[in-house]
């Protein structure tokens, strides 16, 4: 049987319970950017307690509010073997915000209670006194060069990495914990970030990076992804970088340490 379009299989984990701050924009970006190159993505929604397909090329796990975190954590732990197999087998995975926290080893809440994580990433999260909120720019190095990642973070937990690489270095904003300059985490084809909402539409290179990993997993040629006209994407990211810089200058006036955004921007692939 002949297929008109190459197709990727994808899982959206907990689309209704872990869906806050515009997470659906990330699913839209992956779907559209694949479609514009003639590649279809067959999404399968997997809710709490529902069975998941044995394998997939792409997986997305969004953010959620504190209230749903426990229910999701309990469900996620039962899926440990499946998730570990996907990650080990090269499925392209993106986890955002609470998704990042739950893929770590544990979450310690304000009263010292421990919520076990699924342990795919060696990191732990501790409830902080202040929420880390604001515009962020991070520098991310991939096989295709240096990239800038721009977006917005809003998290109460502070994440500390163990034996896991950060996704990027913070140029403006807080990042994982506001202390060590790390943003997100990655391990093989699993990427995690605190930047929520439209992180993929605005950072088209990251969407394409995930699609290319997914194509590789599907045994397809990543060259199926020719360059697109990303003028609007670039303009939206420039705008996001500009507001992050505005915030950074404002923080600096209030005595925050000077960061090296301008200098590093010159070096990064825009």
């Amino acid at each position: 049987m002949e297929h008109d379009h190459p197709t990727l299989t994808a899982v959206h984990l907990y689309p209704t319970t872990m869906d806050t701050y515009g997470d659906r924009g990330n699913v839209t970006a992956l779907t559209k950017r694949a479609q514009w190159r003639g590649v279809e993505i067959a999404w399968r929604d997997v809710e709490l307690g529902q069975s998941a397909p044995a394998g997939c090329d792409l997986l997305f796990l969004g953010g959620g509010q504190d209230r749903v975190q426990r229910a999701v954590a309990e469900d996620l732990v039962t899926r440990h073997d499946w998730l570990a197999e996907l990650a080990g087998g090269g499925t392209a995975m993106l986890a955002v915000c609470a998704g990042l926290q739950l893929l770590g080893t544990r979450y310690v809440d304000a009263s010292g209670g421990v919520l076990p994580g699924v342990g795919l990433l060696d990191l732990e999260t501790v409830a902080g006194n202040d929420r880390l909120i604001g515009n962020v720019v991070a520098e991310v190095v991939t096989g295709t060069g240096r990239h800038l990642l721009a977006g917005f973070e809003n998290h109460g937990g502070k994440t500390y990495l163990g034996d896991t690489e950060p996704l990027g270095r913070v140029l403006a904003g807080h990042g994982n914990n506001g202390e060590d300059g790390t943003e997100g985490a990655r391990s093989g084809t699993l990427l995690a970030t605190y930047l929520h909402g439209p992180v993929l539409p605005r950072n088209a290179w990251l969407a394409d990076h995930l699609l290319s990993l997914a194509l590789t997993h599907a045994g397809l040629d990543p060259a199926l992804l020719p360059a697109l006209d990303d003028g609007l994407e670039a303009a939206a990211r420039e705008e996001a970088i500009a507001v992050a810089e505005r915030d950074r200058r404002r923080d600096r006036r209030r005595g925050r340490p000077r960061r090296l955004l301008e200098r590093l921007r010159g070096r990064a692939t825009l």
Binding site: T16, T17, D19, T20, Y21, G22, D23, R24, G25, T28, A29, K32, E47, L48, Q65, D66, R67, V68, R70, A71, A110, A127, N129, D130, R131, L132, I133, G134, N135, F152, N154, G156, H196, G197, P198, P201, R202, D229, L232, E233, A235, A236, E238, E239, A240, V243, R250, R254
Partner: protein, 508 residues
Amino acid sequence: MRRLPPKESDSLRPEPRQDLRRPLAPDEPARCAAPDAAPWVAASAPATAGGALSTSRSVLAGFAARSVARAITATRSGSASTLPGKVANLVAPTFLSDRAARLTEGFALVTGTNGKTTTAAMSAAVLRAAGRPLVHNTEGANLLSGIATAFALQAPAPFALLEVDEAALPQAVARLGAARAVVLTNVFRDQLDRYGEIDRLTEGWRTALRGSRGAALIANADDPLVAYTALQSELPVVFFGIDPGSDVTAAGAHEVSDAAICPRCGARLEYRSRWMGHLGRYRCAGCDFARPRPALLARDIALSEHGAAAVVTTPSSEVRLSLKVAGLHSIYNALAALGLTSRIGVDPREAVAALARYHPVFGRSSVYSLRGALIRVSLTKNPAGLNQTLRTLRTASGYRALVFVLNDNIADGRDISWVWDADLESLLPSANAYVACGTRAQGMALRLKYAGVPRERLTSAGDLRSALDALIARGERAIDVLPTYTALDEVRSTLRAEGAATVLDDRA
């Protein structure tokens, strides 16, 4: 448009709601908490010891506030809807409690994420038509300063109808004491960067309702978060809700939900139907929490571009509701107004007659004419509101131009992720031109691109005035402008500067 140079009116309204220089601690009140605010319960009793002193200070505070208002008006330096109240609260910290204590018929509060300004305005229209004088904060000035401004500048009346920002409800109750009635319209995601999570908001409501003994609640049965908060309060509740037609239900199926799980037990909420975000007919899969039966129920709903109609069943009668404001949300606002005013003693038949004459307020949906084009301006500040506005625009016939003005100032919320939560994919009406403006014009343009707007119809403009000029010059005769909160002021002043005439707007 790029942000305008700071001018006096910008610093007056919208009021900076939160010092953004540092993030909120999880247990910190969202804002407005006066450092010296007394604990909830203690503050609900008006000052008695040293009462004479505090009363004379209150009189002085009222005088100071009126002087400030006169100065603002005389110098035409902006709107006088919050600064006079700020001055009054500064001069006399007990100003609000003193004024509240003088209301012989008490006061009612209207709060919630969406619809509070309109619900309060509709209720005020009904009460005025019934010959009931009242104090009422208008123009969405719904923080303590706006409420104090209303008390300071308006003629004393036996009753007050007060719109309260959803995050400021605990502070308002702490100052004013127990209301006779509290309307809870709905809880949607709105400015999560500023308010924190929705749960923190309902937690604040529970605190406020504990300080409202004797109040009756008028609450939205179709919103599980509101219904649960109301049921938990142990106060008497009048629930309102709707029974929509099947086409309305189908339209809400794709929207994001802020209530996927049961607020009581954490199990999954099952919806028989869902029509606006998480508003719908729900039941918990794990416990016996379910949508309460509404005492005020709207059915046989008919929506058009120019209005909305329904049959409303009340405990005592059945009335026909006919509104000149469009959209399903207008039915909800009218139901809340019916519930509130009948609690204050107005006959529902009298109330629907007044509601039939009601026109929109505060330019939240006003119409202007400019060089032959009709320009309709609708405030859109969160996903649920934007969905609802788009749904209303879709009932309009013919082609038009759509101008989105997305700002990320403090009062708008600095996080613009919310535009991705709006269901533009299903709800965006067809138009000749789509223009993105505001401080985050590029972010909005990108959202429209991914919603499927053809590239050749999509532009971003640095400035609203040139965007409108270009649209009118190329012959667009119907232009819808959808600004966020701070952009609304900029839109109005731009239209004024261009010489636009107001066609429909009864703020005066």
